[in-house]
């Protein structure tokens, strides 16, 4: 599904290396979590997978859905079935959520859906996420709280039914109840579509109590330094992100 081999990535403007000899392999149906401190390069990773123009792949190979990422554009990656839940979804004034979502749906299905049918279709998903349907007619994310924006991301996810999902700090901006609710909706989606692959990017292990990963990776200074199971997440929560000699040994193995 996603293969990254010895990838080095720089920012386009100041040529600062962010990912350094980074490798990761995600197979169909697997859930991976990447945990790391601020500045480790976690959010950059999500942007690189989606070909954000601010980053340049200097070395290494990335294949997504068996295709060379270098040859793909952001919109092609999305149409192939990848979905990024942004850490801080932007407000886009003047563009209504429904217009935008209907356009995105058209790109996926190549069928135009009228507004009435669209709203009827999405009604249940809004209820699942406790989102008011009015938001569909408002500008994207305008006037929404941080939590509502994340729910709006989930709403789009349910509509577009992706095969690979990258969750960049899903838990930020969500209170405990909202996080539980969002994770329940997310887990229901994974039950319905078990071949979906997931990459969770997070600082804290809290979200991993609700969405259970198959693999947990510790990322420090642009590379994965340790891989394990949920126990690693608990260890990180307890001890922080210090790299000790033991970690270095595991990283070299």
């Amino acid at each position: 599904m996603l293969e990254m081999k010895h990838v080095t990535v720089e920012t386009v403007d100041i040529k600062k290396p962010i990912l350094k000899d980074f490798s990761l392999s995600i197979q169909e149906g697997e859930i991976h979590a990447i945990m790391g401190p601020n500045g480790a390069g976690k959010s950059t990773l999500s942007k690189v997978i989606f070909k954000n123009p601010n980053y340049e792949i200097k070395q290494g190979e990335i294949t997504l859905f068996d295709q060379d990422l270098k040859a793909l554009q952001t919109e092609q990656i999305a149409r192939m079935g990848a979905f990024l839940v942004l850490q801080d979804p932007p407000v886009i004034e003047g563009v209504s959520t429904s217009d935008f979502m209907r356009e995105a749906l058209y790109e996926k299905t190549k069928e135009r859906v009228n507004l009435y049918s669209f709203v009827k279709e999405i009604e249940k998903d809004c209820q699942k996420l406790s989102l008011k349907e009015e938001l569909l007619h408002q500008s994207i994310n305008q006037g929404l709280s941080g939590g509502e924006r994340k729910k709006n991301e989930l709403l789009q996810l349910l509509l577009l039914k992706p095969k690979l999902i990258v969750l960049d700090e899903l838990d930020s901006g969500l209170d405990v109840d909202s996080l539980k609710q969002v994770c329940k909706v997310f887990n229901d989606y994974l039950k319905e579509y078990p071949s979906t692959s997931v990459l969770i990017i997070t600082h804290y292990s809290r979200i991993l109590e609700y969405i259970h990963p198959d693999f947990v990776h510790k990322m420090v200074d642009g590379k994965i330094v340790q891989t394990g199971t949920i126990h690693l997440a608990k260890e990180i929560e307890k001890e922080g992100y210090q790299i000790n000699e033991h970690t270095k040994e595991q990283s070299h193995e």
């Binding site: 989606f50 954000n52 123009p53 601010n54 554009q73 952001t74 919109e75 990656i77 999305a78 149409r79 979905f83 990024l84 942004l86 979804p89 932007p90 886009i92 004034e93 003047g94 563009v95 209504s96 217009d99 935008f100 979502m101 356009e103 995105a104 790109e107 996926k108 135009r112 500008s139 789009q156 577009l160």
Partner: protein
């Protein structure tokens, strides 16, 4: 106010006069240079949405009667060098002017908005608001000069201006949902130029966007 706008051609010289307590809602479409003079009497209320393409113009608004109010939405698509000059004269107390001037500078040409609002002494309780934005698609020249001439303490006045390209963050976000550059421009421009009020034919004509299938 009745939100159903009556459509009129906005080309050439035009005079709009609202009598006492009259309310009106007008949509103007123009592709030639224009000059519009507006006079509002006591407690009258006017809402205008103007869609302009490749045109220079001058708009003079006289708020003559107490409690007269105007809301002016000007949306322009620019491929040649053009200038818009707006003057608002608050000539009575408790008058309100709200201007929303949006321009899309498509080519490497110049587009400028010069906006002067005058509130002399004695025009207490007046409100003057303006929001000016020019999006430069290429490396054109965009100029916004908002000036407030206020000689009265008891007024509420504000202005905001923006010139530049569409935000890359917004574009990237929309791309991550599978939309291509032209679709994104379509959505952003329709929002920016308040094109929802137009028919598909008018949108196609004014914004030169693709028609929906």
């Amino acid at each position: 106010m009745n939100k159903i706008k009556r459509k009129e051609k906005g080309n050439g010289i035009k005079k709009i006069h609202l009598k006492e307590r009259q309310k009106d809602c007008i949509q103007l479409l123009n592709e030639e240079n224009f000059q519009i003079e507006i006079e509002l009497e006591k407690e009258s209320l006017l809402e205008i949405s103007q869609y302009s393409k490749n045109a220079s113009g001058r708009i003079q608004i006289y708020l003559k009667g107490e409690d007269s109010k105007i809301e002016y939405h000007y949306n322009t698509v620019n491929q040649t060098e053009n200038k818009l000059k707006v003057e608002v004269f608050h000539e009575s107390p408790k008058t309100e002017s709200r201007l929303f001037l949006h321009g899309w500078n498509q080519e490497e040409q110049a587009l400028s908005f010069l906006v002067n609002v005058y509130i002399p002494k004695g025009m207490h309780g007046s409100v003057a608001q303006q929001e000016n934005r020019i999006y430069n698609e290429k490396k054109g020249k965009a100029l916004i000069e908002p000036t407030l001439f206020i000689d009265e303490f008891d007024v509420e006045a504000s202005h905001s201006s923006f010139t530049g390209p569409f935000e890359e963050t917004s574009k990237f976000y929309l791309k991550t949902r599978g939309l291509e550059e032209d679709q994104i421009n379509h959505l952003l421009l329709e929002g920016f130029l308040e094109g929802k009020e137009l028919t598909e034919e008018e949108k196609f004509h004014f914004f030169q966007k693709r028609k929906e299938g």
